[in-house]
Symmetry: D2
Subunit: 254 residues, 4 copies
């Protein structure tokens, strides 16, 4: 039983630091989504972040976003598909160069924030992105929500896709995340978070915000670096998964 534990890193800009403690988090996770400059993460921070991933043996992925420093990539924008693809290619390419200089490579691409939510429900956009990424590297895989329309479409089209579940976000009955602005949408309680992480890893049922239960099949479990106590949560998740006999490792090939 093996699972990937991913976290968003490098989410500062210029003199501003991201909410998480990247160095600490890197001790516990197995893959990192590195901000690429559009919602956070200037070129210098990208270098430092990738170097830290290499030092920690953590797999590097890109975390592209709508162009939105001010709104941290969380502002929904209605952009033409072609422009979104252009922006993702630009960001992934930039990170690929940074990674090459640090002696590593970019193995996955996880859209950030509002873009992640837009891709999840837009199979046409997901397919366009997957085709573009295939041209950038044979094994560059998109990370998308388990049970999303986009993930199904990619699988049906023969594209690889990495299915994701969130340990620190409450789900609704249908498998969608509870919207961030809703009370209780972000889980911070260690018992709740680690239990949900374990259920995700084992493909077992866990409770939703609606009082029902949900079972998801995932390849990777996400913890947000800006959730309060993120480092402690990451350590606790790792401990609980290990204790349950689940091996934490990035997907093979990375």
């Amino acid at each position: 039983m093996t699972i990937d534990l991913n976290v968003d890193l490098g989410e500062g800009f210029g003199a501003w630091r991201g909410a998480g403690d990247d160095e600490q988090l890197l001790q516990y996770v197995t893959s990192a989504n590195v901000a690429c400059g559009f919602h956070a993460g200037d070129p210098s921070i990208m270098r430092v972040t990738v170097a830290a991933c290499v030092a920690a043996g953590v797999a590097v992925g890109a975390h592209p976003s709508y162009p939105d420093l001010r709104g941290f990539g969380r502002v929904p924008m209605m952009l033409p598909v072609e422009r979104v693809v252009d922006d993702v290619v630009y960001q992934v390419g930039a990170l690929q160069a940074v990674a090459r200089l640090q002696g590593t490579r970019v193995g996955h691409v996880k859209p950030h924030g509002a873009l992640y939510e837009a891709v999840a429900v837009d199979p046409a956009l997901a397919l366009r992105l997957a085709n573009a990424l295939a041209a950038l590297g044979a094994d560059l895989v998109l990370v998308l929500p388990a049970r999303s329309a986009a993930a199904s479409a990619l699988a049906a089209a023969g594209h690889g896709v990495r299915l994701e579940g969130f340990a620190d976000r409450a789900y609704l009955a249908g498998g969608l995340l509870a919207p961030r602005r809703r009370a209780g949408a972000v889980l911070e309680d260690e018992e709740t978070v680690t239990a949900q992480a374990l259920a995700l890893a084992l493909g077992e049922e866990f409770p939703t915000q609606d009082g029902t239960t949900l079972r998801l099949t995932v390849d990777t479990v996400c913890l947000h670096s800006d959730t309060r106590g993120a480092t402690d949560l990451a350590r606790a998740v790792r401990r609980r998964l290990s204790a349950a006999g689940v091996t934490l490792a990035a997907p093979s090939g990375q």
Copy 2:
């Protein structure tokens, strides 16, 4: 006798077009320096520009800049060397991805505007850039002014370097360009520009703004796309060079 004729392309942003007529210019030049988003050239314009280069059989290079949309990359900035390298790596990587999707590759890197001038006189910065570019692609070569301190340092260190002369800019006696704000710094007269282009191609003497003459050895001749009548100048330069038996071609390997 072979020479490269290069031009800066893709220098619009969003709805704004660059000063030159890219499609027209591509008929006459042999390599293009494509803006990478920091002084001009958003990801969509980069895609369109690279596609046009491919269609025209023109070699693609990167044209990275200080981050300065407002000042079109012409504002001198005092930035730490490491940050400049980070920014160039980011921009070059982004263009490499765009190029890969269009079925081509980035063969050279020509810093833009104030950054070009800063690199030219800073051998330490040029060496740092050349080392970074070597890691991004074995044959990525920097374009620098002929007779510059930086070009000499790169050659001495065993790095490739592409020496550049300007057909549409007046020179001073010592081999420096007359500053842009000086009257007569930009040459627009067809006879003057084509004569200077030919002299550069043949390694012959041409007049400086100081009343002396200058002889430069160059690998590539530049025309600015925002010089008035740029397209007509490009056609005239091509015609005059061809008539003199000079073959226009991108450096081998591209």
Copy 3:
């Protein structure tokens, strides 16, 4: 019979010029909406534009936008009301300072692009904006589409509002503009544009894209500076309105 003829000005950025010929357009219009830096119009362009308005005797208004240089303010964004108000206050204040230095004042505020469309259908946002503008200057009036929900709400709440119609945009039967991406949405034919301008000025019927007719009561008629042939259209509109006995003048108080 008096009507205001307005145009968007100062829509360049840095070295890039806007699509229209501001100097020419200023000969024909009576009020100008000046870009404030978020979709176009940097502080230097704002100064030059306001100075040109003063020289031409044209009333100055603010043309605030979502923060979107890349998309020219035409990308719909889902932003919290409070943030939109903050952004508009910032932009209007900046232009007020520029105007003060040029010896004039800002008399109206016309949201740009996607923000204009968002305000038009959102009475709550319009009221928040109107309240904020009231605090910035007793007579700062919002420009909104005639027959829009927002305009009605402002009038009902006792706020001033300037009702706008477009001479160079096709309407749908219900009074909405035909979306820009729809064929024929932008009117460029001189006879059509001047006829629609006159009908708007006189409150008479004019044809919609649906084959019906529409009658709007407006205080100001807009011409877009980036419509092809904008200067010629502006001159023709002015001529036709004058010939019909309609006086072109900015609303009193400006």
Copy 4:
């Protein structure tokens, strides 16, 4: 004996917070320099910061910068004087609007970072700025380093100027600040900082980094909100000055 104690506030951007604890600092200072969006401080943060100043009874000033979010306004840029004036007018105007909505006004303008250093040594730029500010509000006063060429020029020309000394920065013998990158340039020791603050307030001698002493006549003493322990230093400075019989108050008129 009265002195002003000023601090830079609102230096976050979007989701990123500034280094200081603004709420805490506002308990101890008498005037605040509010970031205006070019190096930090988006429109929403500006509103929150000004509201907090009003609640704390602290005088509001503008803290305009070169356009440089990435470098936090600390990157020296060679910009034409006219463009710098345009940018400062824009930023001050934006803050004036924010202040008006919060029921207060902007009383002073303190350039930030690299711009502060550029203005200090450039009397021509300082005069241009002072003239522009005079048009924006009869009593808008520039804050400049005591003993700077710019401050002298303003005084000689009959402009008001507020002379500043720094409690938490080491000085050189000539009255210049030790450059930030130099070891010991930022003072963090409470005894040192409070002693220097008191000497500045009383116009008494204090030690420089060169081993000499310096005496400055100042109207305002600055503490940096991003100096480690800034809140504790602010409280200690206030306590020591009060104990010495120095009244802390913003300059009259604010």
